[in-house]
């Protein structure tokens, strides 16, 4: 299995949904899109075997992937959608305040931007208590963490996404969903997976503030400027909720979620399931 399938415990969530239990997930016959993406659904820079299936979140991403030469692309929906389906009957806690996700790059990238300015903007905008969720490597940077803590925000981290099968936190998404369900709003300085997850989990979204350009950001797919052009409805301190819900539904591929048996087929787990039973 490609190690990116393990990021954020995606493979673990899918295995649980597919009825394979909480153990180590079997190898997936394909690449699961591991984050919301304005490209072909795969992470740039990762090596991939040609024509191995891409298991994508949305139909729009599938069309885009096909147009840039990807084949064997199919839509299964985001793993988060599968998690939501598993926890549909969970009691919902009372919601309060905002969970704010300052945009992060991945480990190899470095964000350029002014955290202090962003903190001021958050304070001015958010009506209730604010929880700031930092990406793990920013959370480890005491300087950055202190900035947000000193502003009076609760600072959390959902966990380590894992790398090369090591230290993947299988509960990452569970933790994120639990946090999202505690908040009334979800906000970020960029339109990212977390915003879509938040909308799907019942939060009102907002995208505002300095988008914090990454050093050496890959401009292949148009970057933040394109995101603002293509999804203007999701940008701003207040967003029209029904529109946002509709867009999130499409981007996360909520309607594309398969039942367990079909998911096992799509991930190459069908024969394995027969063996274990």
């Amino acid at each position: 299995m490609h190690h990116a399938n393990h990021f954020y415990g995606h493979a673990h969530v899918l295995a649980r949904y597919a009825g394979l239990g909480d153990g180590h997930p079997p190898r997936i016959n394909g690449y699961v899109q591991h984050g919301w993406n304005i490209g072909d659904g795969l992470a740039p820079g990762h090596p991939y075997a040609e024509r191995t299936p891409s298991l994508l979140w949305s139909e729009q991403t599938r069309r885009r992937a096909w147009s840039v030469g990807r084949r064997n692309v199919t839509v299964i929906g985001a793993p988060f959608v599968y998690l939501l389906a598993m926890q549909a009957d969970e009691p919902q806690p009372e919601r309060a305040g905002t969970i704010w996700y300052p945009f992060h790059g991945w480990e190899g990238q470095h964000v350029k931007g002014d955290h202090k300015e962003l903190i001021a903007r958050i304070r001015d905008t958010e009506p209730g208590p604010v929880t700031v969720c930092l990406y793990w490597h920013e959370h480890r940077m005491r300087r950055v963490r202190r900035l947000y803590e000193n502003a009076g925000f609760r600072v959390i981290c959902h966990g380590y996404r894992g790398h090369w099968w090591k230290d993947t936190d299988p509960e990452f998404l569970d933790r994120q969903l639990a946090e999202l369900r505690r908040h009334a709003r979800v906000a970020s300085n960029r339109l990212t997976s977390a915003i879509f997850y938040g909308i799907a989990a019942g939060c009102e979204p907002a995208v505002y503030g300095d988008p914090m350009v990454l050093a050496n950001e890959d401009p292949t797919f148009g970057g933040t400027a394109r995101i603002r052009r293509q999804w203007p409805e999701l940008h701003g301190e207040q967003v029209h909720l029904p529109t946002a819900v509709e867009i999130a539904r499409a981007e996360l591929g909520t309607d594309h979620r398969y039942p367990p048996a079909a998911l096992r087929e799509l991930l190459g787990w069908a024969h394995l399931q027969e063996e274990t039973t």
Binding site: A49, R51, T52, E59, V73, D255, A261, A262, L263, A270
Partner: protein, 614 residues
Amino acid sequence: MTTETAPAVALPGGEMLSWSDQRGEAGNDPLAALAARLVPAGARVLLAGPHDPALLDALTHARITCLLRGYPDAAAVAGRVDRVLVAGPHGLPPGEEYDVVIAGGGLDAVESVEGARLGWDAALARLVAAVRPGGQLLLRLDNPLGVHRLVAAASWYAGRDDAEWTVGGVLDAHRPANLDQLRVRLAAAGMRAGASYAAYPRPDLTTALLATDQLARRTSSGLFDAVLHDACTSGFGGRFVLADPARLAVDALHAGRAAELAPSWLVVAHRAVDPLTTDERYGTAAVDGDGLPVALVQAGGPGNTVVEVVDGPQGWSWHRPDPGDRTEAAAAPYASREAAFRDPAAPDGPVPDGRLLRSLLLDGCLRRDTTLLRRLLRGYADWLADQAGDGRLTGAVALAGADNLVVAGDRFAVLDPTWRANAPLPVDVVLARTLWRFSAELLTGGYAHPWTSTLDVAGLTVVLGGVAGRDFDRAVVDAAVETEAAVGAAVRGLDADGRVGLDTELRAVTPTDPPPGPGSYQQLREAWLRQREENTRLTALLKWTEDLLTSRERALRRSEAAVNLLSGSLSYKVGRLAITPARLAKRGARAAKRRAVAAIAQKQQDRPDKQEQQ
């Protein structure tokens, strides 16, 4: 002039003494059914040229004269008709007239190699002269641009068969090349063309006659879709063609061109009582063949019963022209233990309107419109569930696949309810069978679709079940394939061994196979491309796996080196010494446990022996 040896056979000159036009693979049962409708009892009928023997069976109530160029063919029908003339068109006695003249093999087959050649127009004129004023002519014309020609592997202009002593084609301006031209020629000859039919699937084999006006109007008709597909698939079975004729015919239907691409046409023409006042003497309704069937269909190909579709105030309905057949069919199915039986009364009742589910699903797959696919498949699954009693389905619903279901809005209906399940089938098995059949057709047909190439037919069936909102696994698909083999065996009349063979055959279908039926160059090439793609994918995957294995082995070596390094360190040795008593104690406890278990087992073994001794 007659011969002394065969008095019923007249040889007026121009006969071909050793020639036969009878071909094993030819047939035209729908024409026989149509003729039975048109010819009144006692009517004088001329059969000009070779015809399917079924036509003679259908016209036993008429007085028949056959005009045949081949003597063996004449001898074969001699005892069954009133008179046989063995000759070309010249052999028709001047002044002799008939109520109905049928040239169901076209005019080429009327002309003999002997004597002067008449050509198309003159041959028509000779036959028209034999139609009494007010009488009818049923004439077939082959289409030089029909589906058969478009998919033919051999060029038409290189004809080398015995029958091709001249190759008549579209370049010959003396013969009509389309329906409009045919109507003009008929009018010029004093006939008014009325109803016309598109005849599929081949010029020499007609298993479906479909009214041309309806074909142009009802371009999305589920009935026409299913009939054309079935006729072309079975009509070209085992033949090598360039492309799938069924696909082409159904595409032509949707483009409103199924009549134009028919392999041949059949026209019902009327001779005016007075050629100068044709229009005044004949009302449009009579001339246009009002009341004639919209379609005459031999479902499943030659050998099966022809059923009609007639138009009425309530829309189209099925009509079986041969009610005597019902009692015969009734006995066998109920007595048998087959998975399916033919309903003796079916098809009967209205023909449901709507588009064929197969075409809708194919369209959804090609356009990757998963929303449409979800709506269709969920609608179908719910429709099945609503009709189920105790989770099981009976009757025609239990057997109807996507090629026999029509959808109008959100309503589903079985198109042809002839075949019914003998025993109730679980809803999931019915759904899985429909989806398995569709998956096999989608994959082997080489259609583009929204899923990955890693799915086999059973896997795609499960995935489509998921699209339908149902969570069934391969065990259900397995039962569905078993049902498919059992139903297929019943429909084809196979014995137990045949059924097992069919089951094995069905399970062996892979996505890189070409589809069964016609051997189409396009589909064979597509199958080869799929195999190549799969090889490319697997090669890339193998290389990736090799690279990954190398990197993981390197990581393992590093870890082993670290472990070795640590196990030689002082802290490791001290730690190991410290836990040695604990390790020894653990080992001792294990040994004690083993001994205790062995002793208990021994005692238990001894006890029964003692009891037996007591």
